[in-house]
Amino acid sequence: MKSVPENRLTNSGFGSATSVSFLSLTRLRGMGSLIALILIMGVFAVSSPAFLQIQNLMNIIVQVAVIAVIAAGAMFIILTGGIDLSVGGVMALAGVLAASAVRASDSTTLGIVVCLGTAVLFGLLAGVLVTYGRIPPFVCTLGTMSIARGIAFVYSGGIPISGFPESFRFAGSGEIAGIPMMVIIPVVIYAILYFVLVRTPFGKIVYAIGSNEEATRLTGIDTQKYKLFVYSLAGLLTGIGALLYIGRINSGHPGSGIGYELNAIAAVVIGGTSLSGGRGSIIGTVIGALIMGVISNGLNLMNIDPYFQSVVLGTVIVFAVMIDQHSQK
């Protein structure tokens, strides 16, 4: 990994900044979603007594854990100026293959290896097609999504594969000292990714590629290699998401994860990451995921019509992007 001079590219936890004058705006974007999260939570706290209880807040994190983990991967790809539509399909395939491996061998380790391995391979495949194959990421991952889901259905014959040993379910349904693993794992992952993105040269290069890939390449950085790595990393995170998912529901289902790619992208965008790449923050993404989870949970607690919930979520996404656009000026 080549290092980049510290003074050329800087970034903060709340967003990258390619120039000092930009810093305040990117900070605002991150802060905007945080303030929105707090206010939304305030509305729910007032309207539903069940909302602010510790158990419910824990429920919310458990409910958004899968989306939050795969959204982190989606964010890395979006930072490089790419997009990943394959996560839902890859999640289903990784889940089905891992479920089948566990059922056949009774080995938790094998199940985890198959789950993560499948997802990393698909990430790598998308990366190769995008970089060396020069296929636009949108089209490429649309294709790999369809391939992955197709294989999941062919392999399973459309029938879910269910019933795992407790050890295999640990990531999705276990707890340590009363705290669900679905809370611990995302927190650990986000802490690591924050460090990677903010404190390592790799993180700075990811931002640089998204800001201006050609210029980054001309500084002597092998951008293709880094993009390949980013797609594989996103694959790994999708695999972890799949592991959490199947552990939670105790079943590998070929139809699972439909629409998860869009939810992940929505979390990234609500968190203030620019879809054109180069700007965004890991903290924003986790806030974006939390906003989606809080809205869904809070509206449920308030007896809001399920159909109406989509309207609210869609409205939030639209406004989030609108704010993103305006703050770019």
Binding site: G259, M302, N303, H326
Partner: protein
């Protein structure tokens, strides 16, 4: 200054829909039921949900409907939210028997009674499974077929996936009647609940049994596939097709004189019965049967609903 303005805009725009949404929330804190449904994008479940809502209103119970949108994880999240909301009973139409088992386990832990509407659950403690009388439905289909064909005729049976318990009961009821009437089932194959597979399977059966007089499929999709295969073979006048479910497509096919009959489930009635059963237990202490049956009815061209 502009920064504060933008922050204000951001915050207001995100909270506005929530404030608007708050107005539509139910106010009462009487008995509250939760209905966790697998997919409100599907007419069948919309009908069950409407039955639940209407009957709850009639009986003065609030009901929270949460839609899993075909996602087992969201189903579990919905159950968690219901537990958090301290509903008095959970009515559940699970995504499948396994996801249902997880949902029931969570509700059991929270000591909230669960009434399962259709599908069934693989494990866990439930008060009652409210489900169409599938065995009876299969028998009704059998009686209809038997009344239309001679006793020495050949009939076929197309089943859903092996291991699917509920549709298998339909097949069982049908086979019972055929046995009682001494009618010979010459072929019994699975088409995995799908229309396209139903067509393939029917083609094969017709190949082997050109004199077939009737076929019973355990759902309408497969029956509609069979109808196509029979039409392609030019045997529409010869082979009687009976399905199960009463879907819109099936009713249209009966109207066109292509399918002979279907055994219709009554999802709206199922929703009502679910609420009745739960209210009977919670308010009147009336313990339900392990399985509560929703009547099914035969629909032929003579008994088609008006529209």
């Amino acid at each position: 200054m502009t920064i504060t303005k933008r922050t204000f805009l951001a915050v207001m725009s995100m909270t506005l829909p929530l404030v608007l949404g708050a107005g539509t929330a139910l106010a009462g804190n009487a008995k509250v039921f939760g209905y966790a449904v697998q997919d409100l994008g599907n007419q069948y479940w919309v009908a069950v949900a409407n039955g639940v809502k209407d009957q709850a209103k009639t009986l003065g119970v609030d009901v929270v409907v949460m839609d899993a949108r075909t996602d087992a994880a969201r189903e579990l999240s919905n159950i968690d939210d219901m537990i958090q909301k301290k509903v008095d009973a959970i009515l559940l139409s699970p995504w499948d028997a396994n996801s249902g088992a997880n949902a029931v386990a969570a509700a059991n832990k929270a000591k909230i009674p669960v009434f399962v509407l259709d599908i069934g659950v693989a494990s866990g403690s439930i008060e009652s499974l409210i489900v169409s009388d599938n065995l009876k439905g299969g028998r009704i289909a059998g009686e209809f077929v038997a009344s239309k064909i001679p006793a020495n005729a050949e009939v076929a049976h197309i089943s859903c996936q092996p291991g699917y318990v509920i549709p298998a009961l339909r097949g069982q009821g049908f086979k019972e009647v055929m046995k009682e009437k001494g009618i010979n089932i010459v072929a019994s194959q699975t088409a995995e609940s799908q229309r396209a597979k139903g067509m393939d399977v029917m083609q094969n059966i017709l190949q082997a049994h050109p004199n077939l007089a009737a076929v019973f499929a355990e759902n309408d999709e497969m029956a509609l596939g069979a109808v196509e295969a029979i039409a392609a073979a030019g045997k529409s006048k010869q082979v009687l097709v009976v399905g199960f479910d009463g879907t819109g497509d099936a009713l249209a096919s009966i109207k066109d004189g292509r399918m002979a009959a279907t055994v219709a489930q009554q999802p709206y009635e199922m929703g009502k019965l679910g609420v009745d059963t739960a209210v009977a237990l919670l308010n009147d202490g009336k313990k339900p049967e392990g399985e509560t049956y929703v009547p099914v009815k035969l629909i032929t061209s003579d008994t088609l609903p008006a529209k």
